[in-house]
Amino acid sequence: MMKQKILLIALGLLSAPLPALAISPFDDCPTEAFLFQGSPSTVYAVDLATGQYSEVGTNTGAAGVINAVGFNESDRYIYGWNKSAATITRINQIYRVEDLTVQEGLPADKSFFVGDVFNNTYFLYLKNSGMFKIDLGQGDDNLVAIRIMSAADATLTLTDFAFYPETGELFAVENSNNDLYQFSFDGAGNASFARKGSTGLSGTTTFGAQYFDKSGFMYISNNNDGKIYRLDLRDLNAFSATAEFFADGPSSGQNDGARCASAPVTAKNTDFGDAPDSYKTSLENNGPRHFIGPNFFFGTLVDAEGAALFAPSSDDNDGSPDDEDGITFGSSFKQGSDVLINVVVGGEAVSYVSGWFDWNGNNTFDNDTEQAIVDEFLMPGSHTLKIRVPESAQTGNTWARFRIGQNSGLTSFGGVTYGEVEDYPITIEEQTLTHTYYPGEGTWVTLAYEDNWPKKGDYDFNDVVIFYRVDTISNQEGNIVRYDIYGKLQAYGASFPNGFAVQLDNIARSLVNENLSKIIVNDKTIHNQSVIENGQDFAVIVISGNLKDELAPPQCSGNAGNFYRVWQGCTLDAADQFSFVVSVPFNSAISTGPDMPLNPFIFAPEGRFHGDAFNVEFPGRDLEIHLKGDSLTSLASEQFFSTANDTSVYDPSKCPGPDCDSFRGENGTPWGLLIDSNWSHPSERVDVLEAYPNLAEFARTGGETNTNWHQRVNAIVNKLFE
């Protein structure tokens, strides 16, 4: 009994007329774009300003894909092609389909996925089938399609097109060449198309959703990555076909879009920048903007603006909350020097941070040359980043822009869901610098070490091989403000682990500006790595605690093991896996510095085996191997001199200095070589004299002859690694 009642009630509900809302057209001309994705289709409303999207319809009533959708401003319904029903369909404001029958005029057995509506007429296109139009004003029972382009003429590879608001111009971006095309209609209504230019986009694309807004901007959405690009077609008499990234939207394998072209694109719950609009700040100029979410913001505040309020009338200056609260500058901007940028990541999510600086003062951000912070992936909390002001930077007032978001690849403009943009005025100070390069701005000397000290090595001098360069930067008074040390690891022909460091002899550690010291490894600044070693008297720059950790495990092997780029004939291990630039600025400029090449050395990491020449299992930081005649650092031990094969008599009172006796073997043999060129090192277990015979006379004569022993022309090439 009870069951019967329920059934009756249910039948009653089903037979009752649907609420008026269900069969109604849209109330107005929506500002969002609508995406129909998947099979069966799910409908999304997309905020074109930021790419923010939300699901608005999950049950359209169609069994499969809905394509070729367009918004009809005459009756405020969306029209599309219902693939499973093989007919056109009308979609109401609750995103339910109502299939319509076209009496004649459409080719049989074809499925359309390109369409749009203009002036109460539905246009459909299919490559190699033609273009057709259906007058929606004929009444549902009298719909007839008229061919307006022949099958032979329908050669464009399209997945959508869009009508320009008010004028009826039809545009499409083609998928095979990414070019913009315009369709024209003759007096009889027949369509033809013409190429209007390149969008500048490349790669494989499927622009499954294409729309216009009221101003005449065209938006194209790439199915593959969801990126929305904008074309400025506001002036149809003079426009460029170039497309610019506009926002990140949803991606999908199946995608079609409709939009009421007469609606403006508006921003809701959106954060904008504050720099003058020449930097692209407003929505009209495709300024940076983010749909505000629970995470991905700087500091503690992020405010929403309906439109960008930019300098000199930014909301930071008018009493509104100043949400530029996540970035502070720890030092001044001086031409040619590094700056400390303190970044506070608010919220609870790991975020990507990027930053742009108008170095040349041309009131724009050049994304190729003026992005100094690139996709730093930062945990919530406070961070210090270091960037270099170009020496050519324009002095005076300019702007910096910082963005934070959940994805990498942000540009200085364009909309992205979730994140924040903060713009700051900065002032660049003049600074005149002189660079003195050793050996040259783009050339190298080579450091080559035997790491078996104090025991003899095999003298192939490829245990550690590093190309090396020093840039001494001086101010106008000739005093040294900074060293920039460059290097590239060339070979690692050793089983022992070795770190690499450089001591600035006689330069007290306290003279170095430790906060501004930095290291760049493989072109990436390691912001959180301190390079000035603690506990030292003189400044010691640790470039790597263990060079072996900087390399992928070597694939090339020989009878001594798997070593990096020493086994002749094996090229499995890529070159240039570890390159570095380390900067060592001083708190105050120093009047003089040590001679070149400074004091570079290798050292043993703690707790690692380094041979049995020692009275302890692991010599650790006690063990350093320097060039002959160079001084130890204050963390190293002197106890290994005059042991094993070392015969030097180390006197700390003479080191550093010209009479420093260190790392000298029985015949005066060194464990390290400084070579005046970018040297081709010997193959593994090949004595350096076999590869470079002239070294013998150079060494024997105290450098009086054969100073060019290291040049390739003097090498026995088949003894080299290369």
Binding site: G440, R685, L689
Partner: protein
């Protein structure tokens, strides 16, 4: 000679057994007939370095701000002009009131350096002088 050879062979054998070497034990690659690097007697005090410091003193008869470039490599074109190899630049900086004093480190391969002083307006031919090396100091006057 025979004794030396025997002891050398022994050293190789010992090293091979020990297994405690990193980049190789003694004399690994040399054949018995060849002199190995550690057999070369290096004069006392010679650290096998051939780079050396060079003092540079420039005084040009000019009150203009100029830009100094010192290059280690350059070439002569067919019409006699000198074109610097930019990667070989050793010094880059301003010359104020015609005066510059500095120091650079020359490598053994440098036969000469090209000293250029450019006027900042870019309309006049720069001051150029080639200076032969080696020498401990370079003085330039015009």
């Amino acid at each position: 000679m025979r004794k030396i050879l025997i002891s050398l062979s022994l050293a190789i054998a010992l090293s091979g057994c020990g297994g405690d070497d990193s980049g190789g034990g003694t004399g690994g690659g040399g054949s018995e007939n060849k002199v190995t690097f550690d057999q070369i007697v290096i004069p006392s005090g010679f650290n096998l370095r051939s780079s050396y410091p060079v003092m540079l003193d420039i005084a040009l008869n000019s009150n203009e701000l100029m830009y100094l470039n010192v290059y280690g490599s350059y070439r002569h074109t067919h019409n006699g002009e000198i074109v610097a190899d930019t990667s070989s630049r050793i010094i880059a900086g301003q010359i104020k009131d015609g005066q510059f004093k500095g120091k650079f480190t020359a490598t053994s391969g440098l036969d000469s350096v090209l000293v250029e002083a450019w006027f900042l307006d870019g309309t006049r031919i720069p001051f150029r002088q080639v200076v032969q090396l080696p020498q401990e100091s370079i003085t330039i006057r015009n």
